[in-house]
């Protein structure tokens, strides 16, 4: 019920927005061009990228270290598979700069931690979900691929590659139908463009002039198969040439470029001119999941990619502009670290879901059979 209430509340807010009162929400200092003079907004963006990175790297550690109880018994802290976002932070953080929580939607694939943190999910709530705690955003019953937050329009992670593409079309259709001026950001990996849903969703989106932005987070590899081996057309921007919508490559490691280029697509969508397709080229520092043997890439390639670390690039730019001092960076880093550690501490102390919880949420009604 709680989630349904949140959705209803958000819909009310959305209605007010149609009056234009908050149409300027996303332009109010969030667009790349209108950044503040003292660099506060820029440092916030840097902080967000650092937060995502820190969360992911700590998650990796937590995944690799079992929990040890007083009696010496052990259990894994994070079950199942883990797909980390490290290296791709500029895309989620750049999107957050454009995202209007009162009327926009974001939907993504299974690599969903970055987007959720970017839309304001606390490290505590996210880590609680990974730990399978009742306080997690999916009540501890989903895990890594199941980060959702209805009240801010975070439609979350989807485990079937490409499964989210038509859904994004649907939410955009609703935004257009309700005339909210909202847009739907649909993230996908480069692997998803080879799914049949890609063709159906992009064609329909263009036909319906839906306010959806299809964003390919091109980290160069679909699970373990590089673009060169999985896409006949190597320039992934061209893969959407047949749908009569803008399609272009974006440097996905440069947050300012992300904001500027995504921003154009947002303006187009909000103006009712229809969808766009953007390929944000990036790199994931970790494997597809934690069980990826990484046979498909060399150490040298990975090291080269580190030279274009989105965080390093942005940090250097802010320094050049005189918007970031050593002290400021240190303060940001330690506050990020503290926030993540505090989140982990809280999640560690939180309770597991009660046993009865396994019968909730399959349908609105209660589970029809008494379990045997």
């Amino acid at each position: 019920m709680a989630v349904a209430d949140e959705v209803a509340k958000r819909a009310v807010v959305t209605k007010q927005n149609t009056n234009g009162a908050s149409a300027s929400l996303h332009q109010a200092g969030t667009n790349g061009q209108s950044a503040s003079n003292d660099g506060q907004i820029e440092r916030q963006r840097l902080r967000l990228m650092l937060l995502i990175r820190r969360f992911e790297e700590r998650t990796y550690q937590e995944y690799s270290t079992p929990r040890i109880f007083a009696d010496g018994s052990k259990e894994v802290k994070i079950g199942g598979f883990l797909h980390l976002y490290s290296g791709q932070e500029a895309i989620a953080a750049g999107t957050a700069a454009l995202f209007d929580k009162s009327r926009d939607y974001l939907i993504t694939g299974y690599r969903c931690h970055g987007a959720s943190l970017a839309l304001g999910m606390s490290p505590h709530v996210a880590m609680a979900e990974l730990f399978g705690r009742a306080t997690g955003c999916s009540k501890g019953k989903g895990g890594s691929m199941h980060l959702f937050d209805a009240k801010v329009g975070n439609l979350g992670g989807h485990g079937i590659v490409g499964g989210q593409l038509p859904l994004a079309l649907g939410t955009a259709f609703a935004q257009s139908y309700k005339k909210t001026g909202g847009v739907t950001f649909c993230f996908m990996g480069d692997g998803a463009i080879n799914q049949g849903t890609f063709n159906e969703a992009l064609n329909l989106a263009s036909l319906y002039k839906a306010p959806v932005i299809y964003i390919v987070e091109n980290n160069g590899v679909a699970m373990g198969t590089q673009v060169e081996r999985h896409s006949a057309e190597k320039d992934l921007a061209k893969r959407a040439c047949g749908y009569d919508m803008p399609c272009r490559n974006v440097d996905g490691n440069e947050i300012d470029t992300v904001i500027a280029e995504f921003g154009k697509a947002v303006d187009r969508a909000r103006a009712g001119e229809g969808p766009s397709y953007l390929v944000a080229n990036t790199y994931r520092f970790r494997g597809h999941s934690t069980s990826d043997p990484l046979k498909y890439r060399s150490k040298e390639e990975a090291e080269r990619a580190r030279q274009r670390d989105p965080i390093g690039l942005y940090e250097a730019r802010l320094r050049d502009k005189g918007l970031l001092s050593d002290e400021q960076l240190e303060a940001i880093t330690s506050s990020v670290n503290e926030e993540v550690e505090e989140g982990i501490r809280q999640a560690e102390a939180d309770p597991n879901p009660p046993l009865e919880a396994r019968f909730d949420d399959a349908l609105a009604e209660k589970y029809p059979y008494s379990p045997k």
């Binding site: 079950g79 043997p293 046979k295 399959a362 029809p368």
Partner: protein, 324 residues
Amino acid sequence: MPKLDLVGAINLALAQEMERDERIVLLGEDIGLNGGVFRVTDGLQKRFGCERVVDSPLSESGIIGTSIGLAMAGMRPVPEIQFEGFLGPAYDQLVNQAARCRSRTRGAFTCPMTVRVPIGGGIHAPELHSDSPEAVYAHTPGLKVVMPSRPYDAKGLLLSALRDPDPVIFFEPKRVYRSLKEEVPEEEYTIPIGKAQVVSEGTDLTLIAWGAMVSECLEAIDRLPEEVSIELIDLRTIYPMDVETIVNSVLKTGRAVVVHEAPRTSGFGAEVSSLIQEDCFLSLEAPVQRVTGFDTPMPYYKLEKAYLPDADRIVAGVRDCLAY
């Protein structure tokens, strides 16, 4: 004789049959260079080349569709779908195309392919990576559905599947992949599709299971008092089901409990139960019991144990049935 786990037994069967039959081609996501998400096809691309072990993009519908075409053109494709949940995007090709190839063309074309799919829970994976949809495919005329519970059977059943004239969904229980090692002969042998195995003989009650649930049943039998005599049947093939073995057993014991991981409603246990009722009605001492998963998607790992039938729940089911 080498001791192999399920992964090793399947790898061996694939390699041997590829050696024997050059019509066999493997297709799937990361099956070549990476050796498959569970490393089942490890080393096969190196040995047989990229033309026979094909790394495909993330296109499940395309993988199955390509395989159907290959099969219709006289090849023996062996597609791998990484997890049972990923069969979803390929459902149309599998159910509307592959399964009906023979009947639609009245035998002019056939679809001899073996779709290898990891199935089931118990490895701490989330939904779409832990489900048990065997009943869905058993409910699709034109498909055969096989699920080994152990390495020895996996090799023999897979060789039969690879030589079968029709499409076979070969479900590989993930939690058995590395949990059980046993002697698997190097030499070639087949286990017929459609034949169940009586794992242990008994006179009081028949336990019927398949896949990962077989070892849970063995554990349950261990926990029951020795004087309770249980006959355990490992179905091995879901469809076509070995009705004869089940019926002969239940005619003898008069009681049956069916165990599966999948949700209860319309699970394959319902079919087994119904057949027993049809064929053994006058011999039954108690209603057929089911010990199953629940009618919900697979929960995250904290609740996984509470979802999957385990020895305790099987023992309880057995006791209920005996006490009726």
